[in-house]
Amino acid sequence: MTKINMTVNGRAVSAEAEDRTLLVEFLRSGLNLTGTHVGCDTSQCGACLVHVNGEAVKSCTMLAAEAEGAEVTTIEGMANADGSLSTIQAAFQEHHGLQCGFCTPGMVMSAAALLKDNPKPSEAEVRDYLEGNICRCTGYHNIVKAIMAASGQLDAIAAE
């Protein structure tokens, strides 16, 4: 066991972990941040997606020890400071971008990573960016709609 230190959602944290501990296990079991989900555990589905130093990463496919010293953001860090939903989260709610909600943390984290680099994506760019996020419920349509709405472009999709 080694002590691992990182900043998660702006808070310095440290916990003991084995070298084989995955980042997602560290977050869920070590820090009790269970918003990050494990869907496939085979690097396919994106339910475990978090940001490491600002970049989208599948936390089931990264060792916790590799995130030593990093800034990690999870779904728990996405709400506004007053606890209200962020623009992206509110858009998912408003546009019915979730059904069972299992994929949603990863979808929101993916959407946030996309909009940071590309604040006004086209619908095709949104769909392309979500290539690594699998949803078994929604058929993606309302997820795409929510992200377009969050980027202030609901007109672009409503017009189609």
Binding site: A56, K58, T61, E66, S110, A113, L114
Partner: protein
């Protein structure tokens, strides 16, 4: 996943020393190795992370050669090689999905030599040179069949050097579940001839389609491929596509790549 010891060397020399142990294995982006270890198809006693070695990072271009550090991620190559070698950057920008591209590296992809991976096609198609801690290996001598390369035990790739062609393009027919190439073709036109490398198709891994190279070196147009055909004997046949289908795709994608390269 069985437990292991993770070490994080800061220099190539330290990494090579840490890999001298037979049970040690290099860890780069982990996008292939960690899933493999979860399935217990690999169970190294020690993982040697290559992520903290400054010498393995970076993309640079000088004198018609683009050099990519082995630990450069696909996302980094997509961004940093875009002006110097656009076809290579575009290939890197379409590997897997954004999160895979933020972690996966060129060194890991080339060392792994998955028969359906994208980078081997660019490396072989460009006639690149694989630089290791010990030597330089020409692409033509590097890939030795599915998941097999000329790398020795404990030898690590430090960089890949790509001569920049006059024109090039990569066409990938995506296998939508895995996002790897069902078939992918990389075409590169140099002053002294054309190279065509095919991934995803053969049971022997990436290969050069020499008939097409000859035809295209005389006439760099899709029409030059018309009389040619690809034998399906050694092609991969699986639930996603028969050997005949893959052989057909090789020609179709080569033609598309030539058209797109212009």
């Amino acid at each position: 996943m069985y437990n292991f010891e993770l070490v994080k060397p800061k220099t190539i020399d330290e990494a090579v020393a840490a890999l001298a142990d037979e049970e040690a294995q290099a860890l780069s982006g982990g996008q292939t190795l960690l899933p493999t270890m979860k399935q217990r198809l690999a169970a190294p006693d020690r993982l040697v992370s290559l992520a903290n070695i400054a010498e393995l990072q970076g993309v640079s271009a000088t004198g018609g050669v683009v050099t990519i550090g082995a630990a450069a991620t696909h996302a980094t190559v997509a961004e940093k090689a875009a002006s110097a070698y656009p076809a290579l950057a575009a290939l890197a920008g379409h590997i897997g999905d954004p999160a895979v591209r933020n972690r996966g590296t060129i060194g890991g992809s080339v060392a792994n030599n998955d028969p359906s991976a994208c980078y081997p096609a660019a490396v072989l198609g460009s006639g690149a040179t694989i630089v290791t801690n010990a030597r330089e290996i020409a692409a033509d001598d590097f890939f030795e069949g599915m998941f097999s390369t000329a790398l020795d035990e404990g030898e690590i790739i430090t960089a890949v050097k790509f001569p920049v062609p006059e024109a090039a393009n990569y066409r990938k027919f995506i296998q939508p579940a895995s996002r790897f190439a069902l078939v992918g073709v990389f075409v590169a036109r140099f002053a002294d001839g054309v190279r065509v490398a095919v991934t995803g198709a053969s049971n022997d891994g990436v290969f050069r389609w020499s008939e097409a190279e000859k035809a295209l070196s005389g006439d760099f147009s899709a029409a030059a491929l018309e009389g040619l055909s690809v034998a399906s004997d050694d092609m991969i046949s699986d639930i996603h596509g028969t050997a005949e289908y893959r052989a057909h795709l090789v020609k179709v994608l080569t033609a598309r790549a030539v058209k797109a390269a212009g």
